[in-house]
Symmetry: C2
Subunit: 294 residues, 2 copies
Amino acid sequence: MTKPLFNKIALIGIGLIGGSIALAARRGGLANKIVAATRSEETAATANRLKLVDHCGTDLAAACQDADLVIVCTPVGACGEAARVIAPSLKPGCIVSDVGSVKQAVVDAMQPHLPAGVHFVPAHPVAGTENSGPEAGFAELFDGRWTILTPLPDSDPAAVDKLDAFWKGLGSLTDRLDPAGHDRILAITSHLPHLIAYTIVGTADDLAGHLNSEVLRFAAGGFRDFTRIAASDPTMWRDVFLNNREAVLEVLARFQEDLFYLQRAIRWGEGDKLFDLFTRTREIRRALIHLNQA
Amino acid sequence: MTKPLFNKIALIGIGLIGGSIALAARRGGLANKIVAATRSEETAATANRLKLVDHCGTDLAAACQDADLVIVCTPVGACGEAARVIAPSLKPGCIVSDVGSVKQAVVDAMQPHLPAGVHFVPAHPVAGTENSGPEAGFAELFDGRWTILTPLPDSDPAAVDKLDAFWKGLGSLTDRLDPAGHDRILAITSHLPHLIAYTIVGTADDLAGHLNSEVLRFAAGGFRDFTRIAASDPTMWRDVFLNNREAVLEVLARFQEDLFYLQRAIRWGEGDKLFDLFTRTREIRRALIHLNQA
Ligand SMILES: NC(=O)c1ccc[n+]([C@@H]2O[C@H](COP(=O)([O-])OP(=O)(O)OC[C@H]3O[C@@H](n4cnc5c(N)ncnc54)[C@H](OP(=O)(O)O)[C@@H]3O)[C@@H](O)[C@H]2O)c1
Ligand SMILES: NC(=O)c1ccc[n+]([C@@H]2O[C@H](COP(=O)([O-])OP(=O)(O)OC[C@H]3O[C@@H](n4cnc5c(N)ncnc54)[C@H](OP(=O)(O)O)[C@@H]3O)[C@@H](O)[C@H]2O)c1
């Protein structure tokens, strides 16, 4: 047996992502010991019942004692406070990371709390489902999906490489971006689609009142997919939008422009404009399938 | 063996929907003979090679000779011309229907051509995929999904009931609405979601140029679903938007309003407004799951 990458891993927060990391890390034999700590007794009890980790408690600082890798797996808005609480118990040389869907705001919130001698390497696994909580975790979540590491200019290269190896061990493909670049890209590929799905399901629900709820019953393909996306965790997504405001507002403005263009084409019966866009988007799907990310 | 519902069925157009009707009708033993006619030699050859029907040609009128049920399965914009071409060969008492995603415009386009003595009963199976063409058809497409019949005030009740029984025989649940009511409901549950998906994938593609195409590679859950929807057939969807203009523009205006409300909440950091909507939409998903339409 080869030596595991880490002796002890501590996960702060153990929902969909934390739970999946625990299961995938065990599957890959990446640590001798995996512990977790979460906010509520209830979630801790569930994590222990499901045996996601060796032990899950509610004392965040205690869980981090002697850990070689600490990953904060809470909603983005809770990362700063988590860093503040665990900071005193981080051992020198420990790698601290996170999984937040937004990176610059998390860096700004966590970094000031972290002591010198600790290696901070933020990361984001671009993989998820609409489910949340410890029961939602599964070992295969990251298989074949991308995880983006967003090291800081002064991140220790050896620590970055080690975290990279860890994510590969979880089944992920890995790449590196700077935090702000990450946030611009995810604003369009993930944050905006979620905002739109939430909006349209809300609009439909309002109309359903007027239309005697028949709207829901005749949910066609498109709408069904939107309702699934719009069933994602409210806290997580509120935090994403509040913490990636500028990038989301910018892509939203572009989207609005493009939508008005199509709205005008519909009003004036300009079928060619619709047909041209609909043909182009078809190609994009083919490209995604080609990249194995469809 | 019970007697099939119809002796001869003719399908005008044999792509995803026509092909699936043919396969499901055979599975259900709903006709003694099923023929089809389509615009191109190529599609006819494919339909014959796949044995979707007893025979597929390119002479629309000839296919309808002696048919007891004729279903026009072309894009919405081609339904009127198809009705004009087949009208002279429709036998008295024949039921004529369609599968268009828009109903009022199809009624307006087809009805003037149809001779007296023929029973016109428009319908729309609310079931589909992003694939098109005869290879895309499969017998299970309609199982457990709704088909909406939109009979006209003077539709013969016996003909409506017979078409209803036919769709149940294809595996579908059935209901009835007036054409304009259908168009308003589908505008929000199907047409708007498709328009939005096309738009956002186009916006992302434009941004991908600026962002060195990394956008595509890091396509997360939300965006992947949108690309699938935005891979739907350009002709079909152009026709839907051109033929359901008023209803689509109306729901689009509501959607824009709701989106601006969220945009403003993001700009001003009003997390509660986001959280409230995101919680409400989660319930809608649960309701859909409850209705077995998730
Ligand atoms: N879901 C996705 O698709 C996805 C994908 C990629 C990245 N992410 C990111 O992953 C992170 C976690 O998401 P998730 O889906 O795993 O969420 P989740 O299933 O809801 O789990 C969240 C965990 O964080 C804990 N937590 C919540 N608020 C907290 C607070 N104020 N202080 C301390 N702990 C708190 C929860 O504890 P209790 O249950 O004990 O309250 C729970 O253990 C988020 O930053 C999200 O942006 C999510
Ligand atoms: N796709 C869905 O998800 C869905 C769901 C419910 C209802 N519908 C409705 O079903 C209908 C057909 O959709 P589909 O997905 O089956 O389309 P499809 O797979 O593209 O098939 C269309 C068929 O119509 C023929 N056609 C196209 N243009 C024609 C024209 N100008 N004149 C004569 N025939 C023509 C095609 O013939 P050639 O190939 O020979 O040119 C082909 O046989 C549309 O009205 C659509 O609104 C679609």
